[in-house]
Amino acid sequence: MISGRVGLFFRTPGAWFGVLVLGLIVGLATVGPLVFSVDPHGFNLTVSQDLQAPGTAFWFGSDDLGRDLFLRCVHAARISLMVGSAAMLVALLIGCGIGLLSGYVGGWVDGILMRFVDVLMGLPMLMVLLIVQAIFKPGMESVILIIGVSGWMGIARLVRAETMSLRERNFVLVARARGLSEWRVALHHILPNAMRPVLVSAFLGIGHAILTESVLSFLGLGIQPPNVSWGGLLNNSLSFIREAPWMTLFPGGLIALTIFSLQLVGDGLRNSLEGDR
């Protein structure tokens, strides 16, 4: 039996499966586009290759323009994973900053910031995203920013709660008694201690960000052609759902599988990071 944190991680049900699947998807997304050197977005003018069912020629079938759906999915994985992670990173930065400030300073600063968070959490975020995306020029950067900026509130609340309990701990008091500045204490003594649950939550948040991106792309407001994400593939598949269901099934399945794996790995992380507390 493997001991320690790694052991705790792999004793979580499904963690193996999660790592395996996620590793495969991330691996393909990273290496795939280099290995399969065919341009996935190029049209295939051989009409006979349009809407081919999955088989030996096209593993995932082909789309309405005769493009290999497997290659398209691999390329889309790259974009979906990147947008999801980058958006989460943005959310993590904002959430940690606001949460730390709110929890450490307290008082009216905390009051204002947390009411602001309440208001944001009360908004129907999808509507807001759609409106904002419709106003700005859609593109990768704007999608990342918008998903990040709309998704930091949960992290902020978590960091704030952790900060408030850590603030009362002796080592924080003693660090201040050594004359370290409030900034130093907050960033170097409190934040690292607050990170464990936050990292788990952020990891799970990647899944949510991928899903949000898919929804935006599905509605045509996310990543713009010729680049495509899983959500974009779904959007594209809509008109052919009867003749070519594989065009829906494969990207949709990949989204579901990725989010499921992220959950499993996230649970494992939670057990390994927080199990000994």
Binding site: F171, L173, A177, G179, H189
Partner: protein, 324 residues
Amino acid sequence: MGTVLQVAGLRTHFQSAEHRITAVDGVSFEIAQNEVLGLVGESGSGKSITALSILKLLPSNGVSSADVMQFQGDSLLTASPQRLREIRGKEIGLIFQNPLAALNPVLTVGEQLLETLTLRGGLSKREAKEKAIALLDQVNIPDAARRLGDYPHQFSLGMCQRIVIALTLSLTPKLLIADEPTASLDVTVQAQVMALLKDLQRQHQMSMLLISHDLGVIAQNCDRVMVMYLGRIVEIGTPEDIFLTPKHPYTQALIRAIPATDPRQKQVFDALKGEIPSPLAIPSGCRFHTRCPMAEPRCRQEDPALRACGKAGHLAACVLAGGF
């Protein structure tokens, strides 16, 4: 010997939604250079709050005021936050009970020492590393250079307290406030840590405010002793005054409660009646009259101030003091 710290009329209270709890109520004392001043009392008597009030590190709902709070001629009452930060660590050091909780669990011991030495001590990274090793050597941590990379939980409790001492003394403060420095340690380790602390105090010519509920630790290490009860100082004197001729009934009761180590000696524990009253309902008159074996009717009304009894410098706050 000059006075390092002078405190007069220190009052600290905590404000909650419904209650105002007075934890320290008019405490005055002085610490001379090189002097070790002991502060004893039961849990809840306001010892730690006194210490935190001096450094202005009270929890956010704590408010303190004082008539005088002078540190080496500087008033701590009017000091700017920047000046206070300068004083913390470099001028007044704080050692807290439970050493494991006093170290940051996610930073290595080396990181915590280096941080203090570079940011507060003004040393370069390399000098700081050498100094850190020297400091750990000084507090008898074996294999100091290698252990800089270890986390607090990898050390024993006694070692942790020695690391905390190294950390606090790395800035060579003039005054050290040691709040129950040995309370959570084994008896043998307690003796080692206390000896080390005393040794370093002498070496660096520091003054020390030693807070403890362990009368043995106090008796062995202090030049003067204060006894605290419910936020007030009830008796001050030399260890001889306090332990041989205690004047306040509370001090007398504390001393009677020390267990004898000789099993043949029959001892009747004459523990104090009842518990320390809640600071929400402080008794009228003398605060101790509810538990005092010698209380007279007038103790319920009269609130005695500290006054000289017997030898010079021996003060007690009891209407009966001097009467025996």
